[in-house]
């Protein structure tokens, strides 16, 4: 087992070189995650990091914990299976805005309402980077840089905070990759919060959305302590500009974990199918020779 005391953030990184572009916000997310895991002080083998497909979904390979890099959009479903089967593990899902809110949108809704005790790191750069720059569900409707939507999407973007609150998320924080120390603190708080927690990370794509470098000037800290009531949080952030960082909501719903006991074995269920012994009588008695 890992000697917890000696683990540094570096131990939570692997020796695999990321595929990310120079300057990508996801490097800082990896750094913040490694820092958070070191701070939590849990053995590496007790942590599972689950992802789908996309630039940010490559993150498990760059960490030193157990990981699963699955198909596009299903990270939360895989993570749910891991946590329900193994409540003893610390389970983290990670991925991008396309993976989590478009192809995986249904799982996002149901992970929020199911409230399994796990954490979702949603790295949002408002673009599909791996396929070379198409609009994502969080892209502004008038963004015209994609060849697929040269006149803009004309479609309202998803606000992850509002969507998650409406669906019943139990914890929502927003961080910025440009501030990895705050981000690490938010990840620690999210993992420590019971139930389903989301850390929404503004993580710029410098290749296809170089204007996102300006996010550094846009972010600002939440003014008040988080509400525990979804309606109150929705009201407070109704006009949110999307750049408020900090813990924005911390609910107190009971996490989902089905009760189970092991009072029976598989063999015990065979008896239910056994045909009852026939009543004694002239018909059922063995025939005379």
């Amino acid at each position: 087992m890992d000697d917890i005391a000696s683990l540094s953030a570096q131990n939570f990184k692997s020796d695999v070189k990321p595929i990310w572009c120079p300057g990508c916000g996801d490097y800082a997310v990896l750094t913040a995650l490694a820092k958070a895991l070191a701070e939590l002080g849990r053995p590496r083998e007790t942590i599972a990091l689950i992802s789908g497909i996309g630039c940010s979904s490559r993150i498990p390979a760059y960490t030193g914990v157990y990981g699963f890099h699955g198909v596009h959009g299903r990270a939360l479903a895989v993570a749910t299976g891991v946590k329900l089967a193994r409540p003893d593990l610390t389970v983290i899902a990670a991925g991008g805005d396309g993976d989590g809110l478009s192809i995986g949108g249904n799982h996002f809704l149901h992970a929020c309402r199911r409230n399994v005790d796990m954490t979702y790191i949603l790295m949002d750069n408002q673009v599909y980077g791996m396929t070379k720059g198409q609009a994502s569900p969080t892209t502004a409707p008038d963004w015209c840089e994609s060849k697929l939507t040269p006149n803009g999407t004309g479609v309202s973007p998803v606000a992850p905070l509002h969507l998650a609150l409406a669906a019943g998320v139990n914890f929502f924080a927003r961080g910025f990759s440009g501030n990895p120390n705050e981000l690490a603190r938010l990840v620690v708080a999210a993992i420590n919060h019971p139930g389903f927690s989301i850390v929404h990370v503004l993580s710029p794509c410098v290749t296809f959305r170089s204007e996102q470098r300006a996010w550094k000037q846009a972010v600002h800290s939440a003014a008040a302590a988080p509400s525990a009531h979804p309606a109150e949080a929705l009201a407070r952030f109704a006009e949110d500009d999307g750049f408020t960082t900090g813990i924005l909501f911390a609910g107190d719903r009971e996490p989902f974990m089905p009760q189970r006991d092991a009072t029976m074995t598989a063999g015990d269920f065979e008896h239910a199918f056994a045909v009852r012994t026939p009543l004694p009588g002239p018909f059922t008695a063995a025939p005379a020779a």
Binding site: G67, F68, V71, G81, N106
Partner: protein, 602 residues
């Protein structure tokens, strides 16, 4: 027959007090099997009557089979319980029904084709329900008029299905004391007055049976000392999964697979496992993959539309070498198709649906009892070979019940090869290490020193994503070798009989094929039966052995597109002369159709 009925409501429940004892000699018939259909509009209780009749047959020592024919309506549609009761194990419905009890004729036309009758058949109908349909009259069957409604009305709280059940049991020679005992067992908790009304209605039906046309009565049941189970295919699938060690199920409801889940949910909770209702089939398969990655043997059950949604992630299970089992209880397709009726048409997608070169297991149970064996075996193989297994059951197996001898156990296999917790990994752990068998030790999260990332991207031995030709070739070869090189033993197929004529079939169609082969042998036509249980990986050496000396091959399957025939052609060398009996659902393939082809070849 059935002397001693007085037609009055019984005030006590004991058969002796009810005066139902009669000399055994008056009840014994001579035929080894009787086929009965009970039909009615949804809610009339035809299914309940059929289930009771089957249980009565079981308690009396017979074997039996009951399938269902239903419309898609939740309430108020048509419903038919189709039974065959026999002195020996029953593998299929007969070519026609000996007795048809019509509680009413509502919607009869919708399933008339599923109810073949012969001039020897007896049809019991209530004159109050209108004229006997033209198709029934045309069959030449004898019609017996029985005032079901009126007799039921004469009993306070009496129901027509119980009158019909009483008549049916009496007509085919099932003992009334056992009918009363089974009804007491099933309805007893509804209270004494309900039970008393049911018993009185049963007696009224049985008494009236004396005036009806005679049906051939069953011979004495076999006193073979063999224990009997009364189980449905979907229950047997659930029990097989549980016995195989499955502790995690995630699934989305779908007809006709839901009963697998309904049976497993409480059973899992009591054995330390769990069932999770997922938001869709995409979630279900991925939850199952996650649970298995975390160490829990895991399964999902679905039907064709759900399997289609799961296919991408089954490829993930192949690439990441994560054991999972998907039970597909097949129904008519494509698209929404015919959800309540059976067809063997998911073979193509199960075998060929995955993109890329994706070796996996496909198995098919070939009887209701075999649902247990094959599912349990599939779990064991998936775990041992770290690969996904698809189990192709179907509606005809899943939603039918049978009286069977207790199913057998599959052979023991190694199970999942894991990295022991105490293992000190010398260098970096290689999850996808090249090994002779192709199976590599799998580290379960929680195991120190061997953290890795399972990946659907092509990867190196360590699991690191790789686009290099060498890594791709090595991993493809490893994943193919572990399945192809495994020794599956004789259970890959059921092979029965000898001869130059062979029947090759799979799944639920094995029942009528088995019966036709037995009929052919009884006529002196030497016939082999090969029912393929392990569809993938194909077993060319074993198939060649099974077909040695065969000159004529009859392929039997329930599909329009001859999916099984094409599958056989793609995997195996077949004899020169091949005939195919292949038609779509929902009509079952009947033994006579198969026998006729065998006889023509004589």
């Amino acid at each position: 027959m059935e002397a001693g009925h007085n037609g009055q409501a019984a005030s006590t429940l004991g058969p002796a007090e009810a005066g139902w004892s009669a000399p055994a000699a008056t009840r014994r018939g001579s035929v080894p099997a009787v086929s009965v259909a009970v039909i009615g509009s949804g809610g009339a209780g035809a299914m309940r009557a059929g289930e009771i009749l089957l249980e009565v047959a079981a308690m009396a020592g017979f074997y039996g089979l009951m399938t269902r024919a239903m419309g898609p309506q939740i309430r108020g549609g048509e419903a038919a319980a189709l039974l065959r009761v026999a002195a020996a194990p029953v593998s299929s419905l007969d070519d026609h029904f000996d007795l048809l009890i019509a509680l009413d004729w509502a919607n009869f036309s919708r399933f008339a084709a599923e109810l073949p009758l012969a001039p020897t058949s007896v049809v019991i109908a209530d004159p109050a329900e209108g004229d006997v349909p033209e198709a029934v009259v045309a069959s030449g069957a004898r019609i017996g008029r029985l005032a079901l409604k009126e007799l039921a009305r004469a009993v306070p709280g009496g129901r027509t299905n119980m009158v019909g059940l009483g008549a049916a049991a009496a007509l085919i020679g099932l003992p009334p004391e056992i009918v009363a005992a089974v009804v007491a067992g099933q309805l007893g908790r509804k209270g004494e007055s309900v039970l008393a009304a049911s018993v009185a209605a049963l007696k009224a039906g049985a008494a009236a049976a004396a005036a009806l046309p005679a049906v051939a009565q069953l011979a004495a049941p076999p006193h073979d000392g063999v224990a009997r189970w009364n189980i449905s295919g979907n229950q047997a699938t659930g029990l097989g999964a549980l016995k195989g060690g499955v502790s995690f199920v995630a699934a989305y409801p779908i007809t006709p697979a839901t009963e697998v889940l309904e049976w497993m949910a409480p059973a899992l909770a009591k054995t330390g496992g769990m069932l999770v209702q997922a938001e869709d089939e995409l979630a279900a398969i991925n939850m199952v993959i996650g649970a298995s990655f975390a160490g829990a043997p895991a399964l999902t059950a679905t039907s064709g539309p759900g399997l289609a949604l799961m296919i991408e992630s089954l490829g993930l299970a192949v690439a990441s070498e994560t054991p999972v089992v998907v039970v597909d209880v097949m129904r008519g397709g494509p698209s929404t198709g015919i959800p309540t009726k059976s067809e063997q048409t998911d073979l193509n997608i199960a075998v060929n649906g995955l993109h890329g070169d994706a070796p996996h297991l496909v198995l098919a149970p070939n009887s209701i009892a075999d649902c247990l064996f094959t599912t349990q075996w599939a779990v064991a193989l998936a775990e041992t070979l770290q690969a996904p297994a698809i189990v192709l059951s179907d509606q005809a197996l899943g939603q039918s019940r049978a009286i069977v001898a207790p199913p057998r156990e599959p052979p023991a296999v190694a199970g999942r090869l894991t990295v022991p917790a105490s293992y000190q990994v010398p260098a970096a752990y290689r999850r996808y290490a090249e090994t002779e068998s192709g199976v590599s030790p799998m580290a379960i999260p929680g195991t120190p020193g061997s953290t890795y990332v399972a990946d659907g991207l092509e990867h190196t031995e360590r699991g690191t994503p790789s686009a290099q030709a060498g890594d791709h070739a090595m991993q493809l070869e490893k994943r193919a070798r572990k399945l192809e090189g495994f020794e599956y033993g004789s259970d890959w197929a059921d092979i029965e009989g000898e001869g130059e004529i062979a029947l090759v079939t799979w799944g639920s169609v094995t029942g009528p094929a088995r019966e036709a082969a037995a009929q052919a042998r009884a006529r002196g036509i030497r016939t082999r039966l090969i029912s393929v249980r392990l569809l993938l990986p194909a077993q060319p050496t074993r198939m060649a052995e099974a077909l040695r000396g065969v000159r004529r091959l009859l392929v039997v399957e329930q599909s329009h597109g001859r999916q099984f025939h094409k599958f056989l052609r793609s995997c195996y060398d077949l004899p020169a002369e091949v005939a195919v009996i292949s038609h779509p659902g929902p009509l079952p393939i009947r033994p006579a159709e198969i026998f006729d082809q065998l006889a023509a070849w004589e």
